[in-house]
């Protein structure tokens, strides 16, 4: 049986969204998986390009790190909190339509380790 793409943050085990555009999920190793919400991917339209942040690099919150392009419009996004990027999703970079098709599953954007523990939760208002 094939599983349908997940459509809500809860499907990905996400604890919360940051604003309307990003969701995150804290994993047992203290890293956070970050993705685009279904609302944000719908608003963007079919994505043609995704360039993720550089793995291993420390970014400051808001510093341009991610770019997404649809219909000739490029959005440059910063990370929500200070931290080091652990991985960028190679499947989403290779075929950005994965983000449209499965935003809370195979279409995650990047994994990062925040500089300050609890900073994700503080940003979203969720309990740490």
């Amino acid at each position: 049986m094939s599983s349908a793409p997940s459509r809500t943050p809860a499907d990905a085990g996400a604890t919360c969204a940051i604003g309307a555009d990003l969701w995150f999920r804290r994993d047992a190793d203290g890293t956070y998986l970050v993705g685009l919400t279904d609302l944000a991917q719908r608003r963007a339209g079919t994505l043609a390009h995704y360039r993720g942040p550089a793995a291993g690099r420390l970014y400051r919150a808001g510093e341009p790190a991610v770019s997404l392009e649809s219909e000739k419009w490029v959005g440059h996004l910063g990370l929500p909190v200070d931290g080091t990027v652990v991985a960028t999703n190679p499947a989403a970079e290779a075929d950005p339509r994965t983000i449209n098709q499965d935003p809370y599953g195979a279409g995650w954007l990047y994994r990062m380790r925040p500089l300050e523990p609890g900073s994700f939760e503080a940003r979203s208002g969720a309990p740490a």
Partner: protein, 347 residues
């Protein structure tokens, strides 16, 4: 004169937010292309109003879309011959040839003030340049999401991006189209692709000169553009110069960024696995897809209109061999169609 009829529009005009009209005139390529990035920082900080820039490049150059690969896109021998700069813009779209026979309009605005950013803003604002062209006698329409066309041929390309917490929309009219440069600048995986691409560009890209036999004066077009943007009734326009802070930031940040090889040659994003090795969009839904190992073991080309394959070609390994057209309704063409269905096309 009917003063009563004028009062409501005068009242509305007063309530509209004031945007700055910044006419850069004829200027060096990096200023024509990228001064808007410096403006974006001032707009985002609230130091200046939202801004409409107008510009004309004083000399030719190439502009890469933000996600384009310098190494894959640009033919190094073309750069050697023509000695033109390459500027990676922060907005989207493909590689473009820009020269003094083109005229630019660029909008820089904060979130909510003029739009929320994203493709919907293209449609909203492009009504103005379309109207300006029509006012000058050229029947231009918007082909969603981002092209202005005369009939079915593109005369204006447009793109957008978010930068420094502001939105940027950039576009321009082709006064004269240098079809040769548009083709020759591209690095292609086989020389047989060049004539196919040239025929498509000649079919789908037009210019003011082609349509009317002459180019309008920049001052006439500039005046019509300003009037047409005012006629959107979204903002007032007041001419004002750039600020010392914008000029200083342009010199200390924007120009160094655009002359830094690491920005120009940003490493390419990994390509999807599969037979598609190159997408060459010509205009709107029209373009070429280059595939490997689909028909035979070498390269093949699909001429596409959106998801539809209009024709197929097989490229011989001999570099001087002409492309062989695949027969209509042949199994080879069906094989090519199957491969294109699985690849991202030009919607």
């Amino acid at each position: 004169m009917n003063f009563a009829a004028q009062e409501p529009s005068v009242a509305r005009e007063v309530e509209l937010p004031v945007w700055r009209l910044l006419d850069l005139g004829r200027c060096e390529p990096v200023r024509a292309q990228a001064f808007a990035e410096s403006v974006a920082e001032s707009v985002a900080a609230g130091e200046v109003p939202n801004t409409l820039l107008l510009a004309q490049p004083a000399s030719p150059y190439l502009s890469l879309g933000f996600h384009q690969s310098f190494a894959e896109e640009i033919d190094p021998s073309f750069l050697e011959r023509r000695r033109v700069p390459v500027i990676r813009r922060v907005e989207g779209g493909g590689t473009t040839w820009l020269d003094p026979d083109q005229w630019f309009y660029e909008l820089v605005y904060r979130d909510e003030d003029g739009g929320r950013g994203g493709p919907a803003d293209l449609e909203r604002f492009l009504a103005a340049p379309a109207r300006a062209a029509r006012d000058l006698g050229l029947p231009v329409d918007l082909r969603s999401p981002s092209d202005l066309v005369v009939g079915d041929r593109k005369i204006s390309g447009n793109a957008g991006g978010d930068w420094a917490d502001a939105h940027l929309l950039v576009g321009g009219f082709l006064g004269r189209a240098d079809h040769g440069a548009m083709v020759d600048l591209l690095r292609l995986p086989h020389p047989g692709i060049r004539p196919l691409l040239r025929s498509l560009i000649e079919r789908w890209v037009t210019s003011w000169e082609t349509e009317t036999g002459a180019m309008p004066s920049w001052s006439a077009l500039r005046d019509r553009l300003v009037e047409a943007f005012r006629a959107l009734r979204l903002f007032q326009l007041r001419p004002a110069p750039s600020t010392p802070a914008e000029e200083a930031r342009f010199r200390s940040e924007t120009v160094p960024r655009h002359t830094d090889p690491s920005w120009r040659e940003l490493s390419p994003v990994p390509r999807s696995p599969g037979p598609l090795i190159r997408r060459l969009r010509v205009a709107g839904p029209h373009g070429l897809l280059v595939l490997s190992g689909v028909v035979g073991t070498g390269l093949s080309v699909a001429v596409v209109d959106g998801p539809e394959v209009r024709a197929g070609y097989v490229l011989d390994t001999a570099p001087d061999a002409l492309p062989r057209r695949v027969a209509r309704d042949s199994p080879e063409l069906e094989t090519l169609r199957d491969a294109v269905r699985a690849a991202p096309g030009f919607d």
